[in-house]
C-alpha cells in the first residue's frame, strides 16, 4: 500500500464529521440511563426506562408492523426490481424508459405519499399495512432496479449464450446463470430496500391505517407528546442492534475472505 502522504490536515474534517454525527447519539445514550422523567435534568443512573420500553405494547406492535412491511416490501420490490432491470437492459435499451423506471427513487416522498393517499381514497381502499406495503414497493423497486442495472452493465452475456447452446431452456438458464451472476447486486438492493423501509416515515404516515402504526409513526407521536426517556432507551437499543449487525457482518466477511 502506498504510504499516506501529507494528508494530516485532511483528517480534521473527518473528525469534525464524526463529532457532529456522534455527539447527539452519545447524549441520547447517556439520557436513556437518566432516572429523571424530564429529559433535560440528570437525577442519577437508572435502567427503569429499558424495563418500561420492553413492556410497551405500542412500541412492540409498531416494531412488528414495521417488520411485516419491511420484509414484505423487500421480497416484492427485489423480485420486481430485478426482473425490471433485466428487462430494461436486454429488451429496451432506452435511457428515457430507464429514467422513468427509476424516478420513484428520487421523487420527493411527500409528493408520492399524497398522490398515493389520493389514489387510495379515490378507489376507496381501507388504509392499513397493505397500503404501506404497496407504497414502499414503489420506491424500493426503483432502488433495486438501479443497483441491478449497474451490475448488468458489467455482466458477460457469453455465459448465458453458452448455457443456451448447451441446450438449457430459458428458465433453467435464468435460475442457474442469470440470477447467481446478479446475486451481489440483488442482495445489495434488497438490503437497501429493507433499510429504507425500516425507517420510512412520511409515506407510511399518509398511507397507514389507524390500528396498525409502524414504528416510525409510533415514535413520531411519542416525540410530539411524551418527552419520556423511554424514547432515548429505544434509540440506544436500536443503535446497539445496528452496531451488532454491522460488526457481525464484518466478522463474517473476514471469515469468508479467509476461506
Amino acid at each position: 500500500m502506498e504510504p499516506v502522504r501529507r494528508v494530516g490536515w485532511l483528517h480534521l474534517p473527518l473528525w469534525l464529521t464524526y463529532v457532529f454525527l456522534y455527539v447527539p447519539i452519545a447524549v441520547l445514550v447517556v439520557m436513556s440511563f437518566n432516572a429523571s422523567k424530564t429529559p433535560f435534568t440528570w437525577k442519577g443512573f437508572s435502567t427503569r426506562w429499558y424495563g418500561e420500553l420492553l413492556q410497551d405494547d405500542l412500541i412492540r406492535q409498531g416494531f412488528i408492523n414495521t417488520m411485516i412491511v419491511a420484509v414484505g416490501a423487500t421480497v416484492i420490490a427485489t423480485s420486481l426490481g430485478t426482473l425490471l432491470a433485466i428487462g430494461l437492459n436486454r429488451y429496451f435499451r432506452s435511457a428515457l424508459l430507464e429514467a422513468y423506471a427509476l424516478t420513484p427513487a428520487i421523487i420527493p416522498d411527500l409528493a408520492l405519499a399524497i398522490g398515493l393517499l389520493a389514489l387510495f381514497a379515490l378507489v376507496g381502499v381501507t388504509l392499513g399495512l397493505h397500503t404501506v406495503l404497496l407504497a414502499h414497493v414503489v420506491f424500493g423497486m426503483a432502488f433495486v432496479a438501479a443497483v441491478v442495472l449497474a451490475r448488468l452493465g458489467h455482466a458477460d452475456p457469453s455465459l448465458e449464450e453458452a448455457s443456451r447452446d448447451l441446450g438449457a431452456g430459458p428458465v433453467s438458464t435464468f435460475f442457474r446463470i442469470t440470477v447467481p451472476t446478479l446475486m451481489p447486486a440483488i442482495v445489495a438492493g434488497a438490503l437497501l430496500v429493507f433499510t429504507l423501509s425500516l425507517d420510512e416515515f412520511v409515506i407510511a404516515f399518509f398511507t397507514d391505517g389507524p390500528s396498525t402504526p409502524t414504528l416510525p409513526i409510533v415514535i413520531y407521536s411519542m416525540v410530539r407528546f411524551g418527552v419520556t426517556p423511554e424514547i432515548n432507551a429505544l434509540a440506544a437499543l436500536l443503535l446497539l442492534v445496528s452496531f451488532t449487525i454491522v460488526i457481525s457482518a464484518q466478522r463474517i466477511t473476514k471469515l469468508t475472505d479467509a476461506l
Binding site: 427509476l102 376507496g124 389507524p210 407528546f225
Partner: protein, 384 residues
C-alpha cells in the same frame, strides 16, 4: 458503451456502501430470514379485522372496536378494562390533533374507526358531512349521569350525534415562582421583556386565533373578515416573541424552565402542576372559550352496538371518575365529579370549576363553510 444514467451511479454508490457495511451476501440473507421469522407470529397476533365484518350480531363478544383518541388522553389500561367489561377486543389508536383525525375520517372510504374522540365543533362538522351515526340514547342509560348543562352545549343540544367526554376552558398556564400572574391575553401576545422568547401559543386553528380574538374583544366564533384580519396581524406580530408553537408538550416546557407562560387547556396545565406545584392556571380577564371533547360513532362502523356500549362504559360514574383522576381533565359527569372533584381540586384548582363557571365562557361551535377562514388564517400566520 452506453452512458450510464447518473441515477444508477448514485444508487450504486449508496448500495456499494451498504454492501461494504453489511459484508457478504450470506449475512444479508440471514438477516432477512431472521426478520421474516420474527414477523410471522405477528400476523396471527394482530386482531383479525375480518371477524368484525363477519360478526354484526348484537353479541358484543363478536364485535371489535377501533377507537381513536388523543395520545395520553385516556387511562393507559383503558383497552384492557373495556375488554374485561364488554368482552369486546379494543384497539386504541392515537391522534395528535383534531385536524389529524378529521383528515383521516374525511379522506373517503371506510376509515376503519368505530369511535372517534373529537372536539365538539368538529363533531358538528362531521355530522354535517353525514359521517356520524345518531346516538341511540336507549343504548346508553348512563347518559343520565351527565350534568344537565353538558347535554345542551351549543354545538349539539340534546346529544344527538355526540357525547361529551371532557370539558373545560383555555387559559394561560404559568410558572408562579418565576413570573407575576398574567391577567390578559396580551401577556402572551406582547410579553414583557422577561417573558420574550419564553411563551408558547397553540397552532391548532381555532385556538391559534382565540387569544387574539379575545384580546381584541371579538367573539371566538366570529366570521367577520375585518375582525379576523386584525387578529391575524396581532398574531403575526406576536411571532417575534414566541418560543415555539406547541399544542402538545407546552406543560413540559414550563417544567423544564424553557417557557414561563404558555397558552394551555386547563387539563393539560394540571400535568405541569403535578410535577411542579408552582405551575398554575388562569383565565385571562378578556374571557375564553368553553370547549368539549366528545365521543362520536362513525356511520361506517360495523360494530355500532359495541360502540354504544363503549360510550356507556365511559359514562359509568366510577369509570368516568377514573378517567378524570388519570387525565386530570374535568369530566361532564355529575356523579363522577361529586366523587372525586373536591379531592382533585385541592391540588389542581381548575378541577373545581363548576358547570356555571364554564358556561360564563363562550362555547366553540362549528362555522360551516366559514371554517376555512380559520384554517387559512392559521396557514397564513404560520407561513409569515
Amino acid at each position: 458503451m452506453r452512458r450510464r444514467s447518473p441515477l444508477v451511479l448514485a444508487a450504486v454508490a449508496t448500495s456499494a456502501l451498504i454492501l461494504t457495511a453489511c459484508g457478504s451476501s450470506d449475512s444479508g440473507t440471514t438477516e432477512s430470514s431472521a426478520a421474516a421469522e420474527s414477523a410471522a407470529p405477528a400476523e396471527s397476533a394482530a386482531p383479525a379485522e375480518s371477524d368484525a365484518a363477519a360478526g354484526g350480531s348484537a353479541d358484543l363478544s363478536g364485535q371489535t372496536l377501533t377507537i381513536s383518541n388523543w395520545a395520553g388522553y385516556y387511562p393507559e389500561d383503558l383497552a384492557t378494562q373495556v375488554e374485561a367489561s364488554l368482552g369486546t377486543p379494543v384497539t386504541i389508536a392515537n391522534h395528535a390533533t383534531n385536524e389529524e383525525i378529521m383528515a383521516k375520517l374525511t379522506a373517503g372510504g371506510d376509515s376503519g374507526f368505530d369511535v372517534a374522540f373529537v372536539s365538539g365543533q368538529y363533531a358538528q362538522a362531521l355530522n354535517d358531512a353525514g359521517l356520524l351515526e345518531p346516538i341511540d340514547a336507549t343504548q346508553i342509560p348512563n347518559l343520565s349521569n351527565l350534568y344537565p348543562e353538558a347535554t345542551q352545549l351549543a354545538y349539539d343540544p340534546g346529544n344527538t350525534f355526540s357525547v361529551p367526554y371532557t370539558w373545560g376552558t383555555t387559559g394561560i398556564c404559568y410558572r408562579s415562582d418565576l413570573v407575576d400572574e398574567p391577567t390578559s391575553w396580551m401577556d402572551i401576545l406582547e410579553p414583557s421583556d422577561e417573558n420574550k422568547g419564553k411563551v408558547t401559543q397553540m397552532t391548532t386553528e381555532r385556538w391559534l386565533a382565540l387569544p387574539a380574538l379575545k384580546a381584541l374583544g371579538y367573539s371566538i366564533n366570529t366570521t367577520d373578515d375585518g375582525q379576523l384580519a386584525e387578529a391575524k396581524d396581532l398574531l403575526v406580530a406576536s411571532k417575534a416573541d414566541l418560543l415555539a408553537y406547541d399544542d402538545t408538550t407546552f406543560y413540559s416546557r414550563l417544567v423544564s424552565g424553557e417557557a414561563n407562560e404558555v397558552v394551555a387547556w386547563d387539563g393539560w396545565c394540571n400535568y405541569g402542576t403535578a410535577e411542579n406545584p408552582d405551575i398554575k392556571f388562569v383565565i385571562p380577564k378578556e374571557g375564553s372559550d368553553l370547549w368539549a371533547d366528545t365521543m362520536v360513532i362513525l356511520k361506517s362502523s360495523q360494530n355500532k352496538e359495541a360502540a354504544h356500549a363503549f360510550i356507556n362504559f365511559i359514562l359509568d360514574p366510577a369509570n368516568h371518575a377514573w378517567v378524570a383522576e388519570n387525565i386530570l381533565y374535568k369530566v361532564p359527569n355529575q356523579a363522577a365529579m361529586d366523587a372525586v372533584g373536591a379531592d382533585l381540586a385541592a391540588t389542581y384548582a381548575n378541577m373545581g370549576y363548576s358547570p356555571s363557571d364554564l358556561l360564563k365562557q363562550e362555547t366553540v361551535v362549528d362555522l360551516g363553510a366559514d371554517s376555512v377562514k380559520y384554517t387559512d388564517l392559521a396557514t397564513e400566520v404560520t407561513s409569515s
